[in-house]
Structures are given as C-alpha cells and as structure tokens.
C-alpha cells in the first residue's frame, strides 16, 4: 500500500465498518432503467452527499473528540449496511454459526470496528471528495468511483464505494483504496483466524472481546 494513502485508508474504514442495523430511507431512488455496466446517478449522488456529510462532521468538530465519536457513530448507523457487513465478514462460517454466537459476534464486531475508526479520527487533514463515475453490477449493486484530494495528499487518490439499494435507500457495504477492499480483507482475516482454530468461531469472538477490552482500557 502506498504510504500517502494511509490516513485516507484509515478514514474510509469509518464507512466500511461499524454502525448499527437501522435502515434509514433515502431520497435517492434506484432508477428503474438502470442496466448492468451503466452509470447510476442515484448511487453517485448518495456517495457525494454522505461523504460530504462525513467531512463536515470532521471539519466542524475538529479537536472535540467526544462529539466527533458520537456524531460519527450516528452517521455510520445511517449510511453503512452493518447487518450485511457483519454477515459478510464471517464468510463460509455463516453456514455453521449458531444464533447465539451470531448475536455475540454482531455485538463485539460493532465495538471492535468502532474502536478501529474512532482511533483514527484525528488523521483527517482537510481532504475533499468528488465522484468521478460509477459501474452498476446490477440496478441495486453499484460501485461508485471517487477521488479524494487536497489536505496532505500530494496526488488525488482513487476510492471506490460499493453501495447496495434496498427499501428505497442506498447503503455502503465496502470501500476500496489502492485496490484493497476493506470488507473482503476483514473477511479473509477473520476466516483465517477461525480456520487456524480448527473451525471454532468462538475463538475469533473471544479474541475480538479481548481486543475491545484492551482498546477501552488503553
């Protein structure tokens, strides 16, 4: 990974992970005419608007860490489809996880992801974002192409956002920087941990709990 994008990488983690399951209706409706491969104006508008909202939180509350954390949690609750992300990052182990473990994992994953992005809120240095295009995999599954520029970046950095539509609203499920999709990487991390524990999902859950306890103590 190129070093200049480290703070950006940290910043987009905010969107890729964390938040709650609430589905907030969005004014951006999926065009019925959207075809695979075509651009999707609704998805593009969603990303532009929500990214600007995120940057506004970081700009207006700079230095006020408590406010930043509170507003960002609320923001991610609205824009990220955490239920899908939580399901996705367990990969093949979704087939064998018990309902009790699923609830336990969802709770600890939310805390773990929140701690990851909250520890990086101070890495924002005034960058801005502009949408440059989109590719519709299906009418409800779109990859929006953006450029982040300004701040401490020497050159604009391409960032892709994968957004899915349901119940009339778009939600972010993954973000790519330097070719690396965050949710895919997270899945491969978690699945490898469970693989190495002989398929015991509880080992991952316990490891995340220890990580969360350590972060909150430190």
């Amino acid at each position: 990974m190129r070093p200049f994008s480290q703070s950006l990488f940290a910043a987009v983690v905010l969107i890729a992970m964390g938040g709650a399951v609430a589905v907030i209706p969005s004014p951006f409706i999926v065009p019925a005419s959207a075809q695979s491969g075509a651009r999707n104006a609704g998805a593009e508008q969603f990303v532009q608007t929500e990214a600007q909202r995120a940057l506004n939180i970081l700009t207006q509350h700079r230095g006020d860490i408590a406010s930043e954390k509170r507003l960002f949690r609320a923001f991610i609750d609205q824009v990220a489809d955490v239920q899908r992300i939580t399901y996705f990052v367990l990969g093949k182990y979704n087939r064998s996880i018990s309902p009790g473990q699923q609830r336990e994992f969802a709770t600890v994953f939310r805390e773990y992801a929140s701690n990851v992005y909250e520890s990086r809120l101070n890495e924002y240095h005034g960058e801005s974002l502009r949408v440059t295009g989109s590719v519709a995999r299906t009418p409800t599954d779109v990859v929006v192409q953006t450029e982040v520029y300004g701040g401490k970046l020497e050159q604009p950095v391409a960032v892709l956002w994968r957004v899915l539509a349901e119940s009339g609203g778009w939600r972010v499920v993954d973000v790519q920087v330097d070719g690396v999709w965050l949710a895919i990487t997270q899945q491969q991390d978690f699945v490898s941990t469970i693989d190495n524990a002989g398929g015991n999902i509880q080992v991952l859950i316990d490891q995340l709990k220890r990580q969360v306890a350590k972060d909150e103590a430190g």
Partner: protein, 262 residues
C-alpha cells in the same frame, strides 16, 4: 542476464503447470492461493522478529537522522532512478500514453528537478505511476502462482518474485556505462529499504494492532492490490463477491476453495 531469463522461464512454466490454477473461480477477488502457507508463516514470524530487532529500529534511526525535506528529496531521487524501468514496463504492457508520461517525468525531473531531487513533473500535471515486470507478466496473462512471503522484502508471489529479479537487472543502475559500483548500489538499496519501511510503519503497526491474523490480512491486502494493477477494472467489478451468499461451506477442500488465476 541469461540465468535470469532461464529462471523466469521456469517460473512461467511452474505457474502454468500448477494444477490448482485450473480451478474455475467465480469470484477471483476472494481467491487466495497459498499452498506453502506453513512455510510462509514460519518466514513471516522470522521476519517479524528481524523487523522488531533490526529493520524498524534502523528505519526510525533513518527518520531521526534526516529531516523530512531531506528524506523527501531522497525518495524523489530513488523514484527517479526507477522511472526508466517504469517506462520499459509501460511499453511492454502496450500503454504508450503512460510510457510518454514516464519519459517526460524522467527528462524533466533529471534536469529541472536537479537529478531527481525535486519532483517538478507532478505539479506540471504529469503524475507518477507504478509499473513493474511482475505487473507486466500479469498483463500478459501469467497467473500469480503461489503466494510467497520473503523476509525483508515482504509479501510477494511467484510471478512478482520473478518480476522483481528482472526489475533489478533492468534498473539503470545496472547500465555498464554508469559504472555504479557494488557498494554504491548496495547503499542505494539499503536507503531505499529503510525509506520504504519507514513509509509503511503506521500501516504495519495498525495491522499488528487490529488484525486478528496479521499474516492473513497482509496477504489479502497484497494480493488484492497486485490484482488491481493487472485486471481490467470493469472485469474486477464484475467479479466482486456477493454480500448475501456465503462462499463454499466450511470444510471444503482448501485447494478448491483457495485457488484460481487473477
């Protein structure tokens, strides 16, 4: 040089022969091919100890020894030295426009930029980009082959490992007429290594702190990053995994679940 091409031919043959490469992949973005994982993890642990004892302290010492603007100038010079190799690979990949940019960057930065110390080309609208021989082999259709972890150098795969060797021989530092002595070249490579390690420091520390399996996380990030430089972006989007259907069930044979060309 002849030995390099013979070795490269061996790598190409091995990559094409490896039977697991023939397994059809529905979502190659998710595919990991790491048949030597046990061995690689051993090297990863060794590298972690080496990094803790030597590499990171040396990189932080380099940071203390040189002020940021000086380090920036050093990085610019190192990038400029790499630019002819970038140009060669641009052309080998048939990317003529990017090749023109590389040529322009080299001329401008080597002259107006005082031997590459200042990156004058970027503000003039000629941004830097990367191209290497591992990427060229990928764009020619060669699969990445097995994942490799190489101490000091970090994540790689069979294709990129071979590409790195060719890049070393193709560097302008290898030009006979430049009379670059071995100690001088070694010095440049050591500085390059220290600067690269320093640039990655916060990322490496983040991964160690947050990942539940840092080896798997670095492997995933490396393979995705390299794949993004080889595969057409439209095709890569089409091959993304579903967010609603889990991949093959736990217990599926690793060779079937973890292989495939990029």
């Amino acid at each position: 040089m002849r030995a390099v091409w013979i070795g490269l031919a061996g790598v190409i043959a091995a990559s094409l022969w490896l039977p697991a490469q023939a397994v059809a992949a529905t979502d190659p973005a998710m595919q990991i091919y790491d048949p030597w994982e046990h061995f690689n993890r051993g090297l990863y642990r060794f590298n972690d100890d080496l990094d803790h004892a030597v590499l990171r302290p040396a990189a932080l010492g380099y940071k203390r020894a040189l002020a940021r603007p000086v380090r920036k100038g050093v990085r610019n010079v190192l990038n400029n030295i790499d630019t002819p190799n970038t140009l060669m690979n641009d052309l080998l990949q048939g990317r003529i426009g990017l090749g023109g940019q590389s040529a322009a960057r080299f001329v401008i930065n080597s002259t107006i930029g005082v031997a590459g110390i200042f990156d004058v080309a970027s503000p003039l609208g000629i941004p830097a980009h990367d191209a290497d021989f591992g990427q060229t082999l990928g764009r020619w259709g060669l699969p990445p082959g097995p994942y490799l972890f190489v101490p000091v150098f970090g994540p790689s795969d069979l294709r990129d490992g071979a590409g790195r060797i060719v890049d070393g021989f193709a560097s302008i530092l290898s030009l006979h007429d430049l009379h670059v002595t071995t100690p001088y070249r070694t010095g440049i490579e050591v500085i390059d290594g220290l600067d690269s390690r320093l640039a990655l420091d916060s990322t490496i520390e983040d991964v160690k702190h947050t990942a539940t399996d840092p080896y798997a996380t670095e492997r995933s990030a490396y393979l995705q990053n390299r794949r993004s430089r080889v595969v057409d972006s439209r095709k890569a989007v089409d091959q993304l995994p579903s967010f609603d259907e889990p991949p093959p069930a736990a217990g599926a044979p690793p060779a079937a679940a973890k292989s495939g060309p990029s």
